[in-house]
Amino acid sequence: MRFRIYRLDPETQARPSWREYDVRLEATDRKVLDALERIRTTLDDSLAYRRSCREGVCGSDAMNINGRNALACITPLEGLSEPITLAPLPGFPVIRDLIVDMTQFFAHYHEIRPYLITDEPPPERERLQTPEERAKLDGLYECILCACCSGFCPSYWWNPDKFIGPAGLLQAERFIVDSRDRATAERLAFLDDVYKLYRCRTIMNCTEVCPKGLSPSRAIEHIKLQQLRRST
């Protein structure tokens, strides 16, 4: 199977390049990550990429596969047109080959204060929710922060330092709708900014590529509607 992979070693290369590989796969090699492992063990041990859980839970191996962001470990090789083109997440600074610098991405994540904020005294056991309150978190809490969405968002490409991006905003919504959180007004006020939230142009690439089937664009629209309700 033929691959075309983005290569950059900042210690030896001033500019990135593309390298072609023709790799013989085994019958057990079903996913893109299997092929990358095969390339590294049989053809080129200098190829760098992140991977950890191998089953779509950790989000480490997010990359651009044939022009679309996805997790290499859960993307089947079957059906991909050759040569299969692998590139780092668009819009992210490249550290080496398919490894990108996620510093800015996680800075935005921390900016939205991804934890419950409450001044109520801790209960003896857990803070209870009704089934309806708990159901509001569905479609939000499952985010694994792989950055497929933010790396496919043109608004994030143009203003990565200021726009929080779809992943961070989905997480913000997760805490805004949490019945146990008492900082909803502060959270909404923090996001009422030309850049932080309102750079979203509803392009919906984020929803299109989310490997967990989540909808950051719906979460973003919900945040905007709640801000509108509070200000009228």
Partner: protein, 111 residues
Amino acid sequence: MRLFSGQRAFVVQRLSALVLLAFLGGGALRLAFGPPASLDQWQGWVAQPLGAAAVLLFALAVLAHAWVGIRDVVLDYIHPLPLRLTILGLSAIGLALLAAWTTLVLVSHAL
């Protein structure tokens, strides 16, 4: 709503879109079911206070919608501050002149 919030532009964009939709929809119905027969009839309609107000509201909605769009494009793509301020300033002046000119034309017809 804060003066420089992101929400203000969001609201202006959507409200102006509703005005445009209403005017264009109403205009299309009027043209479909009772189009003015001559230029004099057109001018007569615009010269009435209600017609002039509707056209003025439409023109202001177009300009407000255009302002939000231009501002969004500039915020997205133009990063050097002097260039950004220049483009926004020139756009604001241009749109304000268009608003003034439209108002002048409508008032001169209505009087």
